[in-house]
Amino acid sequence: MLVLRRAGAGERAWRPVGPVRRFLKQEKVAGWVFVAPWVIGFLGFNLYPLLATVYNSFTKLGLFGEAQWVGLKNYQQLFTQDAPFGRAISNMLIYVVLTTTIYIVGGLLLALLLQHKFPGNHFFRVIFYMPSLMVGVGIGSMMVQVFNGRNYGLINEALGLLHIPPVEWLNNYDHPWMSLVALIVTTFWFMGGAMLIFIAGLKGISKTYYEAAHIDGANAWRRFWSVTLPLLTPVLLFNTVMTLIGNIQAFALPLIFAGGGSGSVGAVVSVLGYHDSLSMFLTYLYQEGFVDHKYGYASAIAMVIFVITLLMTAIVLGVFQRFTFYQGSSE
């Protein structure tokens, strides 16, 4: 059966022919063909690590050696005896909710301000995104300098200009939660990412809608609520969900603030901060898995984090489901 044939003039070089062609023309099959690359990648690189992690969560596994099956013991210990993890959960709740809100709202505001053409538009876009363009280590040293204590840090210097006494951010032994506050405050520097996505989304809204609304006599405020926001919901959904996941998985900055802001005695500084005050999901995972070499336990932690992430995402998706407006979707 001839599957392919040479092309005639003006056609692409090889075209599938006959039954194969009809097969491929079906929407169902074509859909699978397009998503196939990701599926193959998943099977090759994601599936095995995923299954391995699930399996390991039921074992006791060290740095080098064999895994011993322990059943639900890891989970049991995690839920009943693990104080730092409990601390991590409460820290994460506060952190994720606040940070995500700041990030999305701030990013949207900036995007709205910067979407139209006016002199200096591009300049501001570059400035606001610049912090996110830094490599991890650079961000760390910069932020540590911003939040440095006494009057050495940038914030404290600024406060000093206003005659406000310096605040101890990272090494506050009387109020250890200040380091969490510092972590949340850093969000203000990194709103550029959300801003960028929103700008792209805003640009994708066809002008005709605005024109129609204007003809109907809607003012700017009304236009925002009736036209912009609804048409922005696909991108808003994306941004909120990804920010949520990203914040749950915050790792680099908490690590630096907890250890390298370094206010504890000893060569091995805890990555969870003074009395676990900056305990976050991923730093705790790192502590158990990579510092303490309890890979089985760490896998269990990972599974729990996964489930929590899933739940929070489902909530966000559920809320959005009622409001999302897909213009040209094939829902």
Binding site: G31, I127, I199, A200, A298, S299
Partner: protein, 307 residues
Amino acid sequence: MSVAGTSPSTTSVSGNNAQEQAYTDGVKRYQRGRRYQRLSMILTYIVLIVWALVILAPFAWLLSASLKTINQYYASPIQWIPNPAMWSNYIEVFAIYNFGTYVGNSLFLATYSMIVSGVVSALVAYGFARFRFPGRTPLFILMLSTMMLPPQVLTIPLYITFKNLGWIDTFLPILVPQIFGSAYSIFLFRQFFMGLPRELDDAARVDGCSYLGVWWHVILPQSRPVLIVVSIFTFLWSWSDAWGPLIYLNSEQTRTVPLGLLYFSNGFTTVYPQMMAATVVALIVPVILYAIGQRYIDSGVAIAEVK
């Protein structure tokens, strides 16, 4: 401010009065509108400038720190303009710390990722956005869930996978996965694609365009904003990746920027000024690329508005 000249009460014809009243009202509304627009423009500028200063402050510190000696670095209160300015720090970064090689390596990997991953992700997203096929929703949810598992636990099994393939100490573990797209990019593309009107798709198909043709000729041109954004993100992600190059590469010739930045500190001392200089160098490439790229976000246009 009143309209120059005319006063509304001169004519005596009954109908004209109302018409001229409407005219004046219109002019007044226009002027109020302009005033409002100017005011909001000024307000916008104020907000933007203040915020820009807040964002820029740490960078000003970074730049000034990169030109200091170690003692000036620790001086308090902060010396904003170092005197003398140690431009030699930048020379050291390239001469002693070999940063030129690192930048080259990072540039290669990041550009590759940006192009390959971007194209494939756009294709996959097209499948999710425009096609109904069995298992689409579960597959999409599966894809989302892969992003929810903390990446740390996956590192060792993944390493073992690559070891069994014999890819350790080569670029392959970093290059090959890009061919299969990235869940983040796919998700973003999909959201954007779903917001594009279907009519153009259908029109093109009626004209005999294949599915791939629709993707290339209809979807992509309308997607320039999101294409730019995804490219920036992918480039940046690869540029700042510190894990892959650490684990899978093993020589100084193949080292990348994020790893190179750590060599400024060791157990006895940290040469902060040079490290800050290197941080500035590491910042320049992404900033330039982004500054150029983000202009094109504006030029994305919805072709042929369907009225």
